[in-house]
């Protein structure tokens, strides 16, 4: 059952991603993107990362994509942008590069469990134990506020920069 669900979600994720780049209409591109993000949330659920899945749906598929949709509709693009869409050689190069990268990823998948590196990652058992001890939120929050506390604080500065910058650039009167 899990295997079947995995392939369903994986297929919709990849199909949605293709839809994003192949659609000429930005609104349909965006809706495909919502589909991709929702499928990723499904994959997270299959990995028992329920909290991550919920955040993925609420923040990405929900809030951010709706914001995107508003912006696209408010901009009222019309059809002027169509001439600027790359076709032919540009598209071929893009797909060739993406295909090459996909090839590398797939080629590395074979025999992945036997490699010494696979031992480096904590297996499902370790994860289960961690979840039993700390719960899903604790398992994310604990490293966030201990090991990665510097990164966490730096994100605060990054957001401050973005906020100040956005206000300076978008303010009505100067």
């Amino acid at each position: 059952m899990v295997d079947i669900l995995f392939f369903v979600f994986a297929a919709t994720a990849v199909g949605g991603a293709l839809g994003v780049v192949l659609q000429k209409n930005p609104v349909s591109s965006l809706l495909f993107m919502v589909g991709t993000l929702a499928s990723l949330a499904g994959l997270f659920v299959l990995m028992e990362a329920h909290f991550l899945a919920a955040i993925q749906v609420i923040v990405y598929a929900g809030a951010i994509m709706v914001l995107f949709l508003f912006v696209i509709m408010l901009l009222n693009l019309g059809h002027d942008y169509r001439d600027d869409l790359k076709t032919g050689l540009g598209m071929f190069t893009a797909f060739a590069a993406a295909g090459a990268l996909a090839g590398v990823l797939v080629s590395q998948l074979r025999g992945v469990e036997e490699t010494p590196l696979a031992q480096h990652f904590p297996g499902p058992d370790a994860l289960d134990q961690l979840l039993a001890e700390q719960g899903i939120i604790g398992a994310i929050a604990h490293p966030l506020f201990t090991d990665y506390v510097v990164a966490f604080e730096l994100v605060g500065i990054l957001l401050l920069v973005a906020l100040v910058g956005a206000i300076v650039i978008a303010k009505r009167r100067v």
Binding site: V104, H120, V150, I157, L158, V164, I167, V168, V174
Partner: protein, 501 residues
Amino acid sequence: MTLDFVSNVDYIWALLPEIVLSVWAMVVLLAGVRRPDDPPANTAALGWLALVGILVAAVANGWLYGVTSTADAAMITVDPFRLFANWVFLLGAGLTVLVAGPYVTRQRLQAGEFYTLILLATVGMMFMGGTRNLILLFLALETMSIAAYVLTAYNRRDRKSAEAGLKYFILGSFSSGFLLYGIALVWGATGSVHLTEIAAVVEAGAGFTGLLLAGMALLGIGFAFKVGAVPFHMWAPDAYEGAPSPSTAFMAAAVKAASFVAFLRVFLEAFPTLYESWYPVVWWLAVLTMVVANLIALTQANVKRMLAYSSVAHGGYLLVAVAAANEMATAGLLFYLLVYTVMTVGAFAILMIVSGQSEDRLQVEDYAGFGWAQPVLAVVFTIFLLSLAGFPGTGGFMAKIYILQGAVESQLWMLAVILALATVVSYYYYLRVAWYMWMRSAAAGNDHARVWTPLPVWLALILSAGVILYLGVLPSGLLDGAMTSAQGLGVVRDGLLGLRP
């Protein structure tokens, strides 16, 4: 003081300069809140306030020399390389703040936010130079880049500034995407985002080679964008030309320096064993950057655009140091970055005060006869131009010598020859401006007499010119510092004579 990072409190000490600067940036932001009818004297005071913050951060940075860290795996490193890089960033930010003051007042820009963004961008740079963790590196790079995008588009009354900001933003975010994907693939290949651990896994041969090479390639593309290497330089001339001049000085000097510091640290600390795979790519990037940028700069009649291409060309010289990848080259890169920061900010400062209120005096013809009308300014500008060209007796010359020495130590003969030839070509476009200043008589109705230099700009110019001349004559003190800072940042390898492309 010894830090072991068992307790997170240690991070407060290890990050003291960054913390001081971030807090100060917020103080400047709050102090910058003012009514629209306030007198302009307040904006000048904000500049001095920001400068004090940079000086306090510099003191904290000096204090860090007495601190040792025993934890290699910590998020932040306390090594002389980081501290030296911090000097470069703080110097660049300080000089930018000094020269920006009159410009900000003249163009009626939002002073508080301007200085805040400069300080926070500097915080981002200091993190970039000081971390071995790729996640932190990416966040720091984004902090710096987003501040730089905003500083580019800062002059909202100027269409060119907005266009430059948009171009820089789109291409910059695109390149950040490459970098992030590269980080993800490297993590997938080695199971770590920490440079020393990545190096250990790679050396043991435990990583996935294909994935690792793909990740390394994407990281390289991301960094090549950020340092503006040909063929990833398309954003640079437009962004540099359209941005307000103080922002251009800051971007061309400090932002580029930070990208190079991070580039060097990632490739030398994480992938030293893969040197044979990545150095040919850097080799070609360096050659293309030096040749193409110098050739295009030859044809520029607009001095700001010429300096933009010259900045790209200097990126090529610095890439030679990355390709050479030995301690001498790393020390040369640090030395070069310091000299380059000083001379670039100085040159853009002169450009800024000559170009006038409406920024329309940017053509090389506008400098005709400038030397005899404003001798002191012209002499200082000539010093900057000669240093940028790499004329003996200036800091720029010594910096190029050290990079050449590094290239020769790695037996990159071709690269050394191309660097020397490119430098000779660059003499033409730098000296052309000097020639116009001193050898051509001024056109009728010129505005040379009206060029007025405010006190902070004088301070920055005299300081920069002094540093350049001092380093041109007595470089050994700074070089010793750079050599100590470069310790351990080189690829150790056996004789490779004849293996160069």
